[in-house]
Amino acid sequence: MSVLEFLANGLVFSSIIVLSSIGLSLVYSIADFANFAHGDTMTVGAYAALVTFGFVGALGGEVLGLPLGFFVALAVGVAVAAVVAVVTHKLVYEPLDVDSIGLLITSIGVAFVYRAVIQLGFGTGFIEFEITLLRPIEALLPYGIRMTMHDVAIVASAAVLVAGLHTLLQYTDLGRKMRATADNPSLARVSGIRTGRIELWTWIIGAGLAGAGGVFLGLYNNISPRMGFNILLVVFAAVILGGIGSVYGAMAGGFLIGMINQLTPLLPRLGQELPLIPESFGIPIGIEYANAIAFLIMVAVLLLRPSGIAGEEAT
């Protein structure tokens, strides 16, 4: 496989990580705790889309190699993830009388409940969307890139969502209030912002993006009850690399971690791929350690620059 192809794969995987890490970072900064149920929120979105796709999959039309029904399913997945998160917030997190560490521990319980319910409903096996696999795009093959239209769809959808979020944060009233609340909740409250309502919107947006990430992850690989929890730590690594609480940092962190994750196979033959480095140079590490690399980067960032790429707040 060529370097370009690894980069292309990295781009697709990064899109998924970016979507989920934005959500996690939003919740981290406004609800003020590390939400360990975020990964399983992704799973919820993926399964909701899967069920919906079973009903509307035949819906006509085709965009980027995907039936229109898939986009309906995507919307439902996003909506269900958001609703589940809001209900959880109202039922579980809001009545709690504990500090942020207590919330963190509670969110693990919530994650288990999500996953257990999904397992009871759908079993523990792997499922895939019933979409016929496409051939790689012909035009890119001469460059050594094997990429299907589906991959393009994932990247494009993620780009649309990220752009939408950027617009929301920068140019709307809600976005300004969210940024203000994330920055200083008490000050926001005395300025007349209803922080409770902002928190609710944070859950909706954060979980919605996670749901979208889950659907795309399901399209990219497959769907299983553990998919969200397995990727959760990678997402955390992205959030921490970007700087907790910074949405733009989370985007950058998600992009980097996703890329590094997919470029791991290149490490042992680094010398052959890069100029100016001796042929024989390489970091001898197997692809099975792709996630471990992300975790180690995360720890290194925490150690050297706990505020991350974009964060300002130091520990």
Binding site: F33, P95, L96, G102, G109, A116, A292
Partner: protein, 509 residues
């Protein structure tokens, strides 16, 4: 029940009574199973061993989370390090194993394995602790979970060292190679407990007992003795350590790290000591597990195992070793109980005993399908139970069932302050330091004499006590304050703080 026992039971708080009731009920159920032959004695001892193992793990986590406030999500990693540490040396198919059961014909290999496990866990704990212990609490949670995954991936993928996902088999019992104990199970006679015919004439008749106590049984008994010894030793050490000045510093760090720093304590060093101590205790549990199960695989390092231990500690009451024991008991009840129920319950609901089926047509079918799903997927149901339990505990009783009360205090000071049950406030540790600090500040202004009663309740985690390096310093405090008690009694109603007057009143019961 004798009068003394009755009094003792009445002296407990309601939560304690509940916990005692639960444990007694469960023990009775197990004994019933044992008597009726539903539960083989060897399996019963295996369960006891597992409980002991979870108690050990909970003790370890308690040192880290309960006392020092370190969120360690890598319990499974240290457990696995302990298990692999000894298994790599002793397992039949270990790539790094040593032949024979003794090193140089002298020292049993399992002892070496235990030492290796402990050293391995301590080294890794230091290595993980250096980058993470300076971090904010929630970063520590994420980082430790990530590093635990790294450890698991290493055990899974370094096939030439660890045999990969196939795991290590043929691990000997812990006492292989020991002088007398090695042959103990074989040397013991096979006891046959004859079946008894029990009947109430005309009502029912059944056969109870009727099992053989053979070599596996004695082997299991030996294992239980081993884990009980470990639990006992660790408990004694922790009990002593937690009441010592060292333990008081740890609790201060948990309540307010800045305060501890301000008092000149090197909190990083204290946190590191607690982290390593806790990790070594977890590794001991792993060593026991390897020699109990005789098989270890990377699956034992799955994050879910970490959270089982967390439940045990949170449910029992963070910072309470009694609570940790109770929690370990409950976790095994959940883990093994759901398995047991899954085998016991019929696969489908018995039909036609739901009345009014013709009125609500859809309702029973929903119930039935749900029931069938739940019964046929017990692994998922267990996960659901575990998740709900975490949420419910955090919602309704975040301090746990048996939060630390008298066990943090030297027994002598409890005896002197007398009074049953809730003499001492049911505060969690976080509240203790701040509350006491405030109360003593307030009463300082009102009447300096009244500071003493607060200290006499034995809240040792106040800042003042940090300077008090003599372990039995509180004993002196108490004798002082009990003198003050009489005068305090009169003043109590006018006391500025409700807390102090409450305690004063109750103590004189």
């Amino acid at each position: 029940m004798s009068v003394a026992a009755r009094d003792r039971f009445d002296g407990l708080t309601r939560a304690e009574q509940g916990a005692v009731g639960f444990v007694v009920l469960l023990a009775a159920l197990l004994l019933f199973g044992l008597a009726t032959g539903g539960l083989a004695p060897t399996y019963f001892l295996y369960l006891v061993g597992l409980v002991g193992m979870y108690v050990l793990l909970s003790f370890g986590l308690n040192v880290q989370w309960g006392y020092t406030g370190l969120i360690n999500f890598s319990v499974a990693a240290f457990f696995g390090l302990g298990a692999y540490g000894t298994a790599l040396l002793t397992a039949g198919n270990s790539p790094l194993g040593i032949e024979g059961s003794r090193l140089l014909g002298l020292i049993p290999l399992t002892v070496i394995g235990l030492l290796i496990a402990v050293v391995l866990a301590a080294v890794v704990a230091v290595a993980i602790g250096i980058p993470t212990l300076r971090l904010r609490a929630d970063y520590l949670a994420i980082a430790s979970l990530g590093l635990a995954e790294v450890v698991r991936l290493v055990f899974l993928n370094q096939r030439d060292w660890t045999n990969g996902s196939a795991g290590l088999r043929g691990i000997p019992g812990f006492f292989q190679g020991w002088p007398v104990l090695e042959t103990f199970p074989q040397a013991m006679p096979n006891l046959r407990v004859e079946a008894l015919e029990v009947s109430i004439p005309g009502v029912f008749s059944t056969r109870i007992l009727g099992f053989t106590l053979d070599a596996p049984f004695w082997q299991a008994l030996l294992n239980v003795a081993f884990v009980l010894a470990l639990v006992g030793v660790v408990f004694a050490i922790l009990r002593r350590a937690h009441r010592s000045p060292w333990g008081r510093v740890l609790r201060t760090i948990r309540s307010d790290e800045d305060l501890a720093e301000a008092l000149g304590k090197d909190t990083y060093a204290f946190k590191m000591q607690a982290f390593v101590l806790g990790s070594v205790i977890m590794a001991l549990a792993g060593v026991f597990y390897a020699h109990l199960n005789l098989f270890v695989s990377p699956g034992d390092l799955e994050p879910i195992n970490t959270f089982y231990v967390w439940i045990a500690v949170i449910l029992g009451g963070s910072g309470s070793n009694r609570g940790a024991m109770f929690g370990g008991f409950v976790v095994i009840a959940i883990r093994e109980g759901t398995r047991f129920l899954g085998e016991l319950l019929p696969g489908a609901l018995p039909a036609a005993d739901i009345p009014f089926t013709d009125l609500v047509v859809s309702f029973p079918s929903v119930v039935e399908t749900t029931y069938v799903t739940v019964v046929s997927n017990f692994a998922s149901t267990r996960l659901l139970a575990v998740g709900l339990l975490i949420v419910l505990v955090m919602r309704f009783r975040p301090e746990g069932m048996l939060p630390p009360q008298r066990e943090l205090i030297w027994p002598r000071s409890v005896a002197e302050s007398a009074g049953p049950g809730e003499t001492n406030p049911r505060e969690t540790i976080e509240e203790e330091a701040t509350a006491t600090a405030h109360v003593s500040d307030a009463s300082d202004e009102v009447a300096p004499d009244e500071v003493a009663p607060d200290e006499s309740t034995g809240d040792e985690s106040t800042g003042d006590d940090l300077f008090d390096d003599a372990p039995d310093g509180t004993g002196d405090d108490t004798s002082d304050s009990s003198d003050d008690d009489t005068s305090n009694d009169v003043d109590a109603p006018t006391d500025a703080s409700g807390d102090a007057s409450d305690e004063g009143g109750e103590r004189n019961e």
